[in-house]
Amino acid sequence: MFESKAGILGIAGIGFFLFAFISNVWTPILMYKDVTEKTAEEVVNYRVMAHFGDLNRRYPEAFQEAFGEPTEENCAAALRLGRQLYIGEGCWHCHSQFVRPVSNESKRWGPVSTAEEYQNELQRPVMFGTRRVGPDLSHEAGRRSNDWHAVHFFDPPLVSPDSPMPKYTWFFDGAPNKPNKRGLAIITYLQWLGTSLDSYPYYEQVNADAEEDY
């Protein structure tokens, strides 16, 4: 059996794979199956709408051309596009979206992430991330203003000296006060991250009262 074709294909190839799949994948699926996955429309809230409206006031021409009026429906479309860009531009290889219960992370970034935060269309595939060159973004909304983000994307060192984050000049029509559709969408997306929490907006606490964790 251990050296036969049937044993290797059947037991090792398919059997063990399925066993691992059931225990490691099917179990969490069953556990969370009753938590409904919200659509982008359902996760639009007044907080992100405030920023969406603010973008409309700051950059009216570009905004009208890209999304029309700042309605909830258009906000959902902007969130979808913003998330696509977050993935396509590889932001998630430098930024995580989960706050761990260790290493003082909840001081820096706010409450430890819970399963509910991820149960929506914009977290499919989930944007946990595996590397932090830059900070966690799961509670980014409201921490910075829209124009801060615009300048930051145009040329990060302008607002954050020494930043190694790449420039995203293609989110703009030539100047930091002229974001295009892509720029507006990704800023909307950032201003949505963490809006469902009571702690919104959470301001980074640095060096305040570091726990003796290590």
Binding site: N24, H93, P125, V126, V133, A210
Partner: protein, 490 residues
Amino acid sequence: MTSDVKPLLPRHDDLVNERLVAWYFLAALTFLTVSMLAGLLVALQLIRANPLDGVELLSPARWRMVHTNAIAYGFLANAFLGCLHWAIPRLTLRPVASVALSYFIFSAWQFVVVCTAAGIILGPSFQAQDWVAELASQLHISMSLGAQGVEWGETPFWIDPVAQLGLLLVAINFMTPIVRQRGPMYVSLWYFMAAFVWTFLTYGMGNFMPEYAVGGVSGGAVGGLFIHDLVGLFVTPLGWGLMYYFVPIMLKRPIWSHGLSLVGFWGLAFFYPLQGIHHFLYTPIPMFLQYGAIISTIAVELVVTTVVINFIGTIWGDGEVLKKNLPIRWFYCGMIYYFITCFQCALQVTLTFQKLIHFTDWVVGHAHLVMFGVFSMWIFGIMTYLFPRLIGRDWHSRKLCEIHFWFSAVGVFIMFLDLGLAGVFQGYYWASLAPWDVSVMGSQSFWVVRAFAGLMMFAGTLCFLVNLYLTWRGPVRELNPDIDVAPALA
């Protein structure tokens, strides 16, 4: 194994399509070069010395995804397919299912890799156009033209079905001679057979489920299992299968212990796939599943140690060959690195370590030691052995072969030590609640060293390419048919 049928042995030329093996190797080396250039671009970006910052199509983050995908699907997959076209027909004494199919797979796979890279680089530029959103709402799919959000599953959604089909054809092509083979199967064939099934299933799981079927935290569990299985059930079994094939041939002695071979294979098969969740410890994925993943990770590290012991037993008493025989040196150096990464893995998987090193450069150092220090080194060893046979000439320069070895082996080890240390620093900076920039600035010197280590690895690869070119253009220098290793190397 074959002594009683010797008079009937088929001719090598009827078994192995050498031209195809050479083509696969050339494709693999091409993508390796692309990937290394991409790695250098990202490394330069991190030390803020990227002269091309702000050029959309050279966006470092897009090229980071090209870096990892070109390695997995462009370099490793192509190189492995080339090696399999050599090893499987010779082990089974039967040719692969069809020559035409083989060439078709070859071209289809290059198409897949090139389209993946093109999709990742060009996709986001078109993402904002209206027709994309319209199609997406009509078809009810998320339509990311560029990368998809699963690590190593970035393959754009319109390529996934082609790649899946390609993997099925690969399995059919190679399984045909294996199924027809009679009598006991050698260890390598166990690994290869299992790998064909696993790769197919793994690819399907990671590239369809988290995108279309499962969202949220459970989708994270799928993604974790996918990145994990891709390393453990595609790269690892093919790599070890090839070691079980090439090492005894070159040492001209059998594998030390058949029992340990069995333990190694079945241990890998059972424990490896159980560990996906260890990539996402401390997430909202239920804690008992996280503990399960941690325990089976530690278990598998014990098991793989038996494999390394088996190979050390095989070479025991014959250590001299490491000096003279270059392919063997590549192989055994890779195995030592393998042991180091596995040992490291058993430590870093514990929650104590995770607290500190998760998300840091430690993990990146680990990834380079596994992917480059182990599997790429094995592939380089095999290429060093096979190329003279494929192009009918002995290596132009032994010295360049040596430089390739030393630059690669030392370069990747520097990178590993440097990033490991960087990771520890980053972990403490973060926990100390110092402003984020402090951790970025503190990493700079490590990132500079990493860029130089990368240059060293790249220089080694360039030496190999130059040597290959000179050998190919140089005069025919017959190999001595009686010895298995090219004379210049033995």
